[in-house]
Symmetry: C2
Subunit: 247 residues, 2 copies
């Protein structure tokens, strides 16, 4: 089994190291990770930019490349340049330092990479932990990584469907399938004044859950102590509206 791994935090971070360590037990691992932090890069691609890819580590059953592009660029270069001879059987991104539940999924570089895998018809999974810190504790998550990966491969979903897996911190009760929680980011900018009197802003924000009572959302599943697995689609058509409009 050939497994392509990426993330949006770069090769130096603990999340991807743990993922590689675990997935190596399943087969050959090829890492293509961004050279610099790419959080919040969504599905951005580097149009018109000189892209480079460098082999930085090679051991038995593992090759690690870094790329000066986005997570989506990493997957595309991994598939077309590194794996041109033999496509991977699985794409896994993460473990992201920070939750990609709810509307975070559309901003996430990790999930951007996962969408690219799904676009190309490869079983694709993104793992995230609801803790942004580099010193985040992954020990409770670790025993679940392989069983979840194997379960999701066995589901053999159709092309264009992938998985967004999010774990809460603290002890875990297990995992549950979930849907994307409805909500939005609020209070998103902190205002500053520079020494010349100009104004600039830095992003911050508070997530507003607009369905806190629902029990089947990724947010509520995590709140209840479970890992939330959200089946996610590259096809963004809103079918109820499409069907109504075609009548």
């Amino acid at each position: 089994m050939r497994i392509l791994i990426t993330n949006d935090d770069g090769w130096g971070t603990p999340g991807i190291r743990l993922l590689v360590e675990q997935l190596q037990t399943l087969g050959e691992v090829i890492v293509v990770a961004p050279k610099t932090a790419q959080s919040g890069m969504s599905n951005a691609i580097s149009v018109g930019k000189m892209l480079r890819i460098d082999l930085v580590e090679q051991t038995d059953g593992k090759r690690v490349y870094t790329c000066n592009g986005t997570p989506s660029d990493c997957v595309k270069m991994g598939l077309e340049i590194v794996c041109h001879d033999l496509k991977p059987d699985l794409l896994v991104a993460g473990i992201n330092h920070g939750s990609n539940a709810a509307v975070n999924v559309i901003y996430s570089g990790t999930m951007g990479a996962v969408y690219v895998g799904a676009e190309y018809g490869i079983p694709s999974i993104g793992f995230s932990l609801d803790d942004h810190r580099m010193e985040a504790d992954f020990s409770h998550y670790k025993p679940y990584l392989l069983p979840i990966t194997q379960k999701l491969i066995e589901m053999s979903v159709e092309r264009g469907v992938c998985f967004n897996v999010n774990a809460p911190t603290g002890p875990l009760k297990g995992f549950q399938f979930a849907r994307q929680c409805k909500g939005y980011w609020d209070d998103e900018f902190a205002e500053y004044h520079d020494p010349n009197g100009g104004t600039f802003y830095l992003m911050k924000g508070v997530f507003r859950n607009i369905e806190p009572e629902a029990c089947d959302t990724d947010e509520s599943v995590m709140k209840n102590g479970y890992i939330a697995i959200t089946p996610t689609s590259v096809d963004t058509t809103h079918y109820p509206t499409f069907q109504k409009a075609r009548q």
Copy 2:
């Protein structure tokens, strides 16, 4: 009516100028456009970057700002900083120079901006033309911009649903609702060698339509000479898989 307008090509491009000219007949227009070209930026947000917004033009019923961020940043700054007193009734992005049909929707900075509008519960529409050139001819598209905008407002879809509108070049027969065509990008990198012997790559690509016989996709609707209107969802849950997995 207050209308927030953005794009991913910047304020200097013909597509957004035409959109502003047309939408000004419906109410007050506020433009927040990126300072530099942001094609392929998807829903990227500028975490940790100093963001600035500048008023560059002001006339009766129209204000134009530029922002040094992504299209998604532009919408967020438009909503929270420029329109903090009174939220817009409508968000429109485009007209993009280039199609955002099929899987392009996940890479598109234009549609990234539209998703942000939908996240915040504002009726949101992205207009694109299947012609990348700056000198693209929009004259066939122009008579449809206001009727389509008005029709989509009247549909008053639920929060989180927005519209991806794509016109082919050449004469038009009208518009039709469509779903996102399934397919993928292929042959995505051109290889070069720099003077020092290093290798770099530039993105290119060919779109592979994997359902060319379907007649209800955005690609086929455009091919038949119609503007394709695809209802698009910020909720990326794949409900058939979710429902099956919960059983």
